[in-house]
């Protein structure tokens, strides 16, 4: 049986490649006996760093998240928002800007205090989660989230959002979106582990480290490198051309 510390040391491994080498071991161990909720110890504080410069906008994260979490058609826990931006300093007329979005697992999450039944909560490891057995589907949290990260799942009729793939993290695995990121743009880890890749990368990127909507003081646990100021809040531009929700108009419960 793999111990908690074993799995955590793997997550804290100095490189993503090293982590990937260890994944089959952890997976096999998890299948034999699920690791206890390492989060409950409070030793780990999970966070994500998104290096926008490395994102190629392939939506592999979007698809893997849907596959991993059984997200209903037309709903998304993560998506790579894609923008066409007119260029003034280049021979090209326009470029593409991509911005992976997900729940920010804020340290000061606006979704938690509004929940009328205490169904939304922050785990000891920093992951903001929804207790599906308690959620009444009132959607107050959906309104309160400033990142549009929440939605009502039409199959469960409960609030839904990114969980950092808590079920995988608890088993010592990486979130599905991180695992499948082609460009290595998503780095996941424990900010409490000073030797971990995440802490190291956060430290290196400190001067250019940004978060979405910092003025709201939500203290996101999703950090960005290469975040253009024009995209850190509500984007001023022409609206989206793709409205997958229209497909769902008859399935709304």
């Amino acid at each position: 049986m793999k111990s908690c510390s074993d799995s955590s040391s793997l997550l804290a491994s100095p490189s993503r490649r090293a982590f990937l080498r260890g994944v089959p071991v952890v997976t096999a161990a998890a299948a034999v006996a699920p690791t206890p909720a390492i989060a409950a110890t409070g030793r780990h504080q999970w966070a994500m760093l998104v290096d926008v410069r490395k994102c190629i906008g392939c939506q592999a994260c979007t698809v893997s998240c849907i596959q991993e979490n059984g997200v209903p058609e037309g709903s998304f826990r993560t998506v790579v928002s894609t923008y066409s931006v007119k260029l003034t300093d280049s021979a090209q007329p326009a470029g593409t800007y991509v911005l992976p979005r997900l729940c920010n697992h804020c340290d000061n999450p606006p979704c938690i205090p509004v929940c009328p039944v205490g169904a939304t909560y922050k785990r000891d490891d920093g992951i903001v989660a929804v207790d599906g057995d308690r959620c009444v589907g009132c959607a107050y949290c959906v309104q309160a989230c400033p990142y549009d990260a929440r939605f009502i799942n039409h199959e469960t009729n409960k609030a839904d959002k990114c969980t950092f793939c808590a079920h995988r993290v608890d088993a010592g695995l990486l979130p599905a979106c991180v695992e499948t990121c082609v460009g290595g743009a998503r780095i996941f880890g424990d900010i409490n582990d000073p030797n971990g890749e995440l802490a190291r990368r956060l430290k290196e990127a400190q001067p250019q480290l940004k978060a979405l909507k910092p003025e709201l003081e939500t203290s996101p646990r999703v950090f960005y490198i290469g975040l253009d100021e024009r995209f850190s809040g509500k984007v001023e531009g022409e609206g989206t051309l793709w409205k997958p929700r229209n497909l769902q108009s008859t399935a709304h419960g």
């Binding site: 931006v85 007119k86 509004v114 589907g137 309104q143 984007v235």
Partner: protein, 365 residues
């Protein structure tokens, strides 16, 4: 809008508070507004308010009883409504609201029964339709002033709490700048009072057609419309001048939208027209009544559905089209159906004319 940025891929989040929520906020607003209108005539016995207040009380009861059903239907897990009471969360205004609603409705129902008890007895004595049931409900038909005042006080506390929570619950949502203004609860309250006055005017038109009632209600309506316009102007001034950052943010969010510009002009014009008619032509009771109801509903529709059409992170606006099923049109029609059912039920036991006439009704004496 920055024409240099075009969003090509993003998620269009659909509305999560459905038209049911609009119906709830509309009906509960009408209810507490109508309850307030019931006080001068029934509790304070102001001579010109007797019939007006009794008609208003009918409106408070019908709207108050139908509103929670709309609220329940807006939950995506309505069967779990008891979680509100099992897992009280003091940080959530919605959680408090779950306790405020029964306080208000409990007080209102007792107050309504005590107020209409003598009328039920008169109706029973006159041998009218469902006289037997009315007689049973009258339970002697005594007028209990002390109990009535106590129930009115309880309902008043409940109404104040409901008005507070329904406004603040929305206004605290920082993620939606349009909602996150301190004036929003005031706007909800004023338009609720105006809508309730409109409802009483409509009831008056279909009952006694009392010109004095119409005049009294028109005066109240004119005052509410003047207040609504003043608060709207203040909202706009705070936004345009930038004196209040939250109002400036709210204005910036919807200002560039042509749809919102039309809605704003429509709302302002409807309010001004209602004010003008109620002031200059106070006899046009039905028209101004319907106009006031329309404005109260439209304000809530624009705030809730329109507000959810504004993306929090994405560019532009989402486009909402009303679904025809329970999550859309049927929610509105269903709530209206329930409202009509309750209206028919109550006025079957106590006809509208008898409510409007009150103690002056000689039929059962």
């Amino acid at each position: 809008m920055n024409p240099n940025i075009v969003e090509t891929i993003n998620v269009a989040r659909e509305v999560a508070w459905l038209p049911w929520a609009v119906q709830y906020f509309f009906l509960i607003g009408l209810s507490y507004g109508a309850f307030l209108l019931s006080l001068p005539g029934i509790v304070f016995r102001r001579p010109t308010w007797g019939g007006v207040s009794r008609l208003a009380l009918l409106g408070a009861l019908v709207c108050g009883l139908s509103a929670p059903v709309a609220l329940l239907a807006d939950l995506h897990q309505p069967g779990r409504f008891w979680h509100f009471y099992a897992y009280f969360t003091p940080t959530s205004w919605m959680s408090w609201g779950a306790f405020f609603i029964p306080i208000y409705l409990g007080g209102l129902i007792v107050y309504g029964w005590l107020a209409f008890r003598p009328d039920l007895a008169r109706h029973a004595a006159s041998g009218g339709r469902l006289a037997g049931v009315a007689g049973t409900l009258a339970y002697g038909g005594h007028e209990s002033r002390g109990a009535l005042k106590a129930a009115a006080l309880l309902a008043f506390v409940g109404a104040a709490l409901v008005a507070l929570y329904t406004g603040v619950e929305v206004a605290v949502v920082r993620a939606r700048p349009l909602w996150n203004t301190p004036l929003l609860p005031v706007q909800f309250f004023i338009t609720a009072l105006a809508g309730a006055t409109g409802l009483a005017l409509v009831f008056n038109r279909f009952s006694s057609r009392d010109a004095a009632h119409t005049l009294t209600l028109s005066r109240v309506l004119a005052a509410t419309q003047a207040l609504a316009l003043a608060i709207g102007a203040l909202w706009l001034a705070l936004g345009v001048s930038g004196l209040s950052p939250v109002h400036a943010k709210a204005l910036a969010e919807v200002g560039p939208s042509a749809n919102w510009q039309i809605s704003a002009v429509w709302a302002a014009a409807a309010t001004a027209l209602t004010l003008l008619l109620a002031w200059k032509r106070p006899g046009s009771g039905l028209l101004v009544g319907l106009l006031a109801l329309h404005s109260a509903w439209m304000m809530r529709w624009s705030i809730f559905i329109g507000g959810q059409e504004v993306p929090k992170t994405g560019a532009g606006y989402y486009s909402y089209s009303l679904p025809l099923g329970p999550e859309g049109l049927m929610g509105i029609v269903g709530t209206a159906g329930l409202w009509i059912f309750l209206f028919v039920l109550i006025t079957s036991l106590l006809p509208l004319d008898r409510i409007a006439a009150g103690a002056a009704d000689k039929a059962g004496v």
